[in-house]
């Protein structure tokens, strides 16, 4: 306690102890812990994540660091699309525009990968099993014209859009996914079919995917119009 007395020395008032600056200490303490949390939080999260997520599941409330999915929709609702009427349109600069039913999509060579879902705002879910077909295989089937350079993705919600360059779309961990967490993709997660772009932040993995347009220009998607980068590599650089 380095607070200086506000009473003159030899003051007769016995209650003249200098005040304790609890407010200042609280501020410094909270900000100090915040600083430690910012710098070391990801490590703490890694170390405690599995136990926290167990607790989180048990109490039914997402806890900080609990590594649980958050459910995003940019419209007022979560579109529910019956699997038997679902269609994926692939059009634009392609030799043969496609309209694929879920069964037709599933007949393409299937790929499974286990990878984290990382949100750009910081939360993530580690080791998520994803299953579907490679985006590049879908594009090969439609036959992309040589002058095409980019893709636009559309969502059944009528509002969510995304973009990739053609070279990004050909990466071996970019899936048109119909299964995640070892089950069909639910409506909340963007089912029956969503994109999963493993090397990029979650907003690139468009939900309720129903149309892929092949173009020669990257058109920024919904979140990119809201200030997030189009080249959304996790960590800022392509891995």
């Amino acid at each position: 306690m380095a607070g200086k007395s506000e009473q003159p020395p030899g003051s007769p008032d016995p209650s003249a102890k200098p005040p304790v600056h609890v407010g200042r200490r609280t501020m410094l303490g909270v900000l100090g812990l915040t600083g430690i949390g910012i710098v070391a939080g990801a490590k703490i999260d890694n170390a405690l994540g599995s136990s926290l997520s167990a607790v989180s599941k048990a109490v039914g409330v997402p806890l900080p660091g609990g590594n649980q999915f958050q459910f995003y929709t940019i419209t007022g609702s979560f579109p529910v699309i019956p699997a038997d009427t679902y269609e994926l349109t692939v059009d634009g600069m392609v030799r043969e525009p496609l309209r694929l039913s879920l069964a037709e999509l599933r007949s393409i060579k299937r790929t499974r990968l286990v990878h984290r879902f990382q949100c750009v705002t910081g939360w993530y879910v580690p080791d998520v099993p994803w299953e579907g077909v490679l985006l590049s295989d879908v594009l090969d089937r439609a036959g992309v014209m040589p002058e095409a350079t980019a893709l636009r993705f559309f969502s059944a919600d009528g509002a969510y859009t995304e973009s990739l360059t053609l070279s990004q779309a050909h990466l071996p961990d970019v899936l048109v996914a119909d299964k995640m967490l070892d089950a069909n993709v639910t409506s909340d997660h963007g089912g029956p079919v969503r994109l999963y772009v493993a090397p990029m932040y979650g907003y690139k993995s468009i939900k309720w995917l129903n149309r892929i347009e092949v173009t020669n220009k990257v058109v920024p998607g919904y979140w990119e119009d809201n200030g997030y980068p189009a080249n959304a590599w996790i960590g800022g650089v392509a891995q």
Partner: protein, 240 residues
């Protein structure tokens, strides 16, 4: 105000307008009330939008993620605006004095955390220990959520490790802030006179005698000082 001797009395924001000792005490001035209510509205907006972004069950119901996020971010950036404005001009005096009270704890503030019976005779400051710790925590938490929120929303995407840490802290603070705000509202609703004083700015002397005796004697001392100038024409200033 100038007295007969030509000395000007220093206007005091915390001395009552009426000199009658039965008049109510000025507890919060207009600046403080404006700060309180504007921040209260923003805080409730932040809690509601934050909960809608955080809890899956609410997120699924509310939707409109982009809109909710923008409301949350803009409100968060503005939250400390009223305090900053209030401290930026000569109207800051009383707010600054009360912020100092939140910062500076006297022994009676620590003793307030004792059991109900043992804290009975304490001559309390304008705010008790519980009110002070809540104000201190909320103040610190507001700054910390601002810092972590800015990192979450505006940091370059290469800072993802820090964004994860900032998210963790931001979420943990959310729970602390909600607890503090709920407690604050519950106490306010259970103490009508104090609640009303956040609208009217004034509170009875009887309340202060019981709940803030140390503050009451400060106010009375300054009243005597202020009226003593007038009184000295007929009577000597009574010993304090």
């Amino acid at each position: 105000m100038t007295d007969a001797a030509g000395r000007s009395a220093v206007p005091r924001s915390d001395s009552p307008k009426a000199t009658s000792p039965s008049a109510k005490l000025a507890r919060f001035d207009l600046v403080e009330r404006l700060v309180h209510w504007s921040m209260a509205i923003m805080m409730l907006t932040l809690i509601f939008t934050g909960a809608s972004l955080y809890f899956p069950a609410l997120a699924v119901r509310v939707g409109h993620r982009g809109l909710i996020e923008n409301i949350h971010v803009i409100t968060g950036l503005c939250l400390l605006g009223p305090v900053a404005l209030a401290l930026a001009g000569p109207w800051r005096k009383q707010l600054l004095m009360d912020l100092r009270r939140f910062d500076r704890w006297r022994p009676s503030d620590f003793d307030w955390f004792r059991s109900r019976s043992r804290r009975k005779g304490l001559a309390r400051d304008k705010f008790n220990g519980g009110q002070k710790i809540e104000a201190d925590f909320l103040g610190a938490a507001m700054v910390a959520t601002l810092v972590t929120g800015v990192i979450m929303r505006f940091a370059p995407s290469s800072w993802i490790t820090w964004a994860t840490g900032a998210t963790l802290v931001h979420e943990a603070l959310f729970f602390g802030i909600v607890a503090a705000v709920l407690a604050h509202i519950a106490f306010a609703l259970s103490k009508p006179e104090q609640l009303v004083s956040m609208f009217s700015g004034r509170i009875s002397r009887a309340w202060a005698r019981v709940h803030a005796a140390a503050w009451l004697s400060e106010v009375e001392a300054s009243e005597i000082e202020a009226s003593g100038v007038e009184a000295s024409r007929t009577d000597p200033v009574p010993p304090v």
